[in-house]
């Protein structure tokens, strides 16, 4: 003990935080967690360059947040997720890091502490992708999660919107279809600039689908021939943006 920490925070829900880390771990094995006065940000491109995940958790989301200087912590996610236990509801999470080590404390009835050495992760340039999405829909998180879960085994999920009324998720392989609409109560808002339709990889959508359990709404944006953007905004604060390239 007695170590000097450059960054530390306390998050009200270990479950929420680790669900986000799990989603990140589904995409990359190693990643840089960047801490600044504004909060925590992570950006990672999967090795096949199909999906991009950006996590932003502003400092005011945490119970306490302290970053004495900007710090990037190289985290071996594969290892971390294997080691950390499944947190209980109500468990609090404390994170501390310096240039060499980082540690997680999961505080519930008992307090568990896990300390890791940071790994070298090259800070590769991940360029900004700015796309003109033709369809924008705000969906109830649970509704979208259930719809995608019901298309299990589809391999490819087709997103289609012709007008402002319905958003279709189709599984051509299974001959199945899920319909989301404002009238049905699964969509809160929908805007279609031009009718669009595109295929996305089911596996890649499933990698982040658990984020729906910790968010209220998900913003879906897509268009013909361009990537799919899912934005999860969390109840406790913070957000994850997930960009997924269309299937060939």
């Amino acid at each position: 003990m007695g170590e000097e920490w450059l960054v530390s925070f306390e998050h009200p829900s270990a479950k929420t935080f680790l669900t986000v880390v799990q989603a990140l771990g589904n995409i990359v094995d190693e990643s840089l967690m960047n801490f600044s006065a504004a909060g925590l940000s992570v950006k990672a491109l999967d090795p096949a360059q199909i999906a991009l995940i950006s996590i932003e958790i502003p400092s005011d989301t945490f119970i306490t947040y302290h970053a004495s200087k900007e710090l990037s912590v190289g985290v071996n996610l594969a290892n971390l997720l294997k080691t950390l236990p499944k947190p209980k509801k109500g468990d609090k999470l404390v994170f501390r890091a310096n240039e060499e080590f980082y540690e997680f404390l999961i505080e519930g009835i008992t307090t568990k502490r896990y300390k890791f050495r940071s790994v070298e992760v090259s800070a590769s340039q991940i360029p900004e992708i700015d796309l003109d999405f033709k369809v924008k829909a705000l969906a109830i998180a649970k509704a979208l999660r259930d719809a995608i879960k019901d298309l299990k085994g589809a391999e490819v999920i087709t997103f289609e919107a012709q007008d402002d009324k319905y958003l279709y998720l189709r599984a051509p392989e299974l001959g199945a279809e899920a319909k989301l609409s404002k009238i049905g109560g699964s969509l809160l808002d929908m805007e279609v600039k031009e009718p669009s339709r595109n295929n996305y990889d089911e596996d890649y959508i499933n990698k982040v689908l658990n984020l729906a359990t910790i968010s209220d709404t998900i913003e879906i944006r897509f268009g013909s021939g361009i990537p799919l953007n899912l934005s999860f905004t969390f109840v406790e604060g913070g957000s994850v943006k997930y960009l997924l390239a269309p299937k060939a």
Binding site: V28, D29, L45, D46, P47, A48, Q49, I50, A51, L52, A78, P127, I129, D130, L131, E155, D201, D203, I226, P227, L243, A245, P246, K247, A248
Partner: protein
């Protein structure tokens, strides 16, 4: 496909005359051959090795890479087979049960064969099978030595409710060598009681490779995806093997480039390139390229499951040069790749870097075979986010 090589006498010395006596006594490695012609009325019979000291080596492909191809062919062609006719469903007849006993043994078995003096068939070299020595007609057979069975083999042999593919997987998981499993399947020692059959050796080899690799691929798909590009390059016996493992779901391609003068392109003037591939769902048809496809798939799936513990998109490429002018069987591909995967791979961060590196490695210009490969041509196509960055910039 099913071509056979007639070996000219000047190339291969005639087997020693001592084998042509009516009675032959010696160790069987063990090895029992089941022919495929005239199926379902096939020929079946054991073979005898020339020496008793290394007899087991005569039919044990797992250790053949170390001994050199010339030596191997000499050794294989010195074995003599005594064959008799049998219907594939006769697996419960006394004669076949005796052959099963020989084939399942894990040590060489001393046998005595009574064969006809005439009717010696010349040695045979095929793409699927290891080289086969001269064959003659078997009149009677006696097991003179002791037969010893391994526990896993004994268990599946006496379990007449266990289906053949389950038995094969059980044996594989119990670390029984592939060649032994192939022998067991071939002599009709596996499967549910009523459906046990003799399986021609060349079909059994492919069937076992196929069943095991399918099971391994199932496991590969449960693993996490690879996160870098790995390249394995191996050269030996006038063959070049290249394995490219890429991040992505299980996809597999096997490509062969036969140079003029090599075993399957003896009369051609151009390099002949063939390939076959499968997606994550596997394939339902027999690959045009033949049994090597399954042997190579097994080797790479085994490496992904036991070695890397990762899922990957796999491209395997082989160049076969002039010097490799005798087909030796698919074991060569399987064992060569298994050995190659024990080496340390080169790591790359993009497929382009891999291609750049290979420019100096392959004799066929890399652009040519790259374009012929379904997987390399389509890898990441229309799926990479980088495409959208470029699009936006323009």
């Amino acid at each position: 496909m099913m071509q056979e090589y007639k070996v000219r006498n000047k190339l291969w010395p005639r087997p020693s005359i001592i084998y042509l006596r009516d009675e032959i006594y010696g160790p069987s490695p063990p090895s029992v051959y089941v022919g495929w012609r005239n199926y379902p009325k096939v020929v079946i019979g054991p073979s005898i090795a020339r020496e008793s000291e290394h007899a087991s080596l005569y039919d044990y492909p797992e250790s053949w890479l170390g001994i050199g191809l010339g030596e191997l062919i000499k050794m294989r062609l010195s074995m003599i087979y005594g064959l008799r006719k049998a219907n594939i469903e006769d697996v419960w007849s006394y004669g076949i049960l005796k052959l099963q006993e020989i084939a399942l043994s894990n040590k060489p078995v001393d046998i005595e064969m009574n064969v006809l003096r005439k009717g010696l068939i010349r040695p045979m070299l095929t793409r699927e099978l290891p080289p086969l020595g001269p064959r003659t007609i078997l009149q009677s057979l006696r097991i003179a030595g002791n037969v010893s069975l391994e526990k896993p083999i004994e268990r599946v042999y006496y379990d007449t409710d266990l289906r053949a593919n389950e038995a094969i997987i059980e044996l594989y998981l119990n670390k029984v060598p592939i060649s032994r499993i192939q022998k067991a399947l071939s002599v009709g020692a596996l499967g549910a009681m009523r459906v046990r059959k003799l399986v021609p050796t060349r079909w059994a080899i492919t069937a076992v490779d196929d069943i095991i690799s399918k099971e391994l691929v199932k496991r590969v798909k449960e693993l996490k995806e690879l996160n870098e590009f790995l390249l394995y390059v191996g050269y030996g016996y006038d063959n070049l093997f290249i394995a490219i493992l890429m991040p992505g779901p299980w996809n597999f391609e096997w490509m062969e480039a036969w140079f003029p003068g090599s075993a399957w392109n003896t009369e051609g003037t151009k390099v002949s390139i063939e390939s076959d591939w499968e997606g994550p769902k596997g394939r339902t048809t027999y690959p045009s390229i033949g049994g090597c496809y399954y042997a190579s798939k097994l080797a790479v799936a085994e490496h992904l499951v036991n070695g890397l513990r990762r899922e990957a998109t796999v491209m395997l490429y082989r160049e076969i040069y002039e010097g490799f002018n005798i087909p030796v069987g698919v074991w060569f591909v399987r064992e060569f790749l298994r050995r190659l995967f024990k080496e340390k791979p080169r790591k790359f961060s993009s497929l382009l870097e891999v291609k750049e590196f290979l420019k100096k490695v392959t004799r066929v210009p890399v652009d040519i075979w790259w374009r012929k490969s379904y997987i390399l041509r389509n890898y990441g196509k229309g799926r990479s986010l980088y495409e959208f960055i470029k699009k936006e910039k323009r």
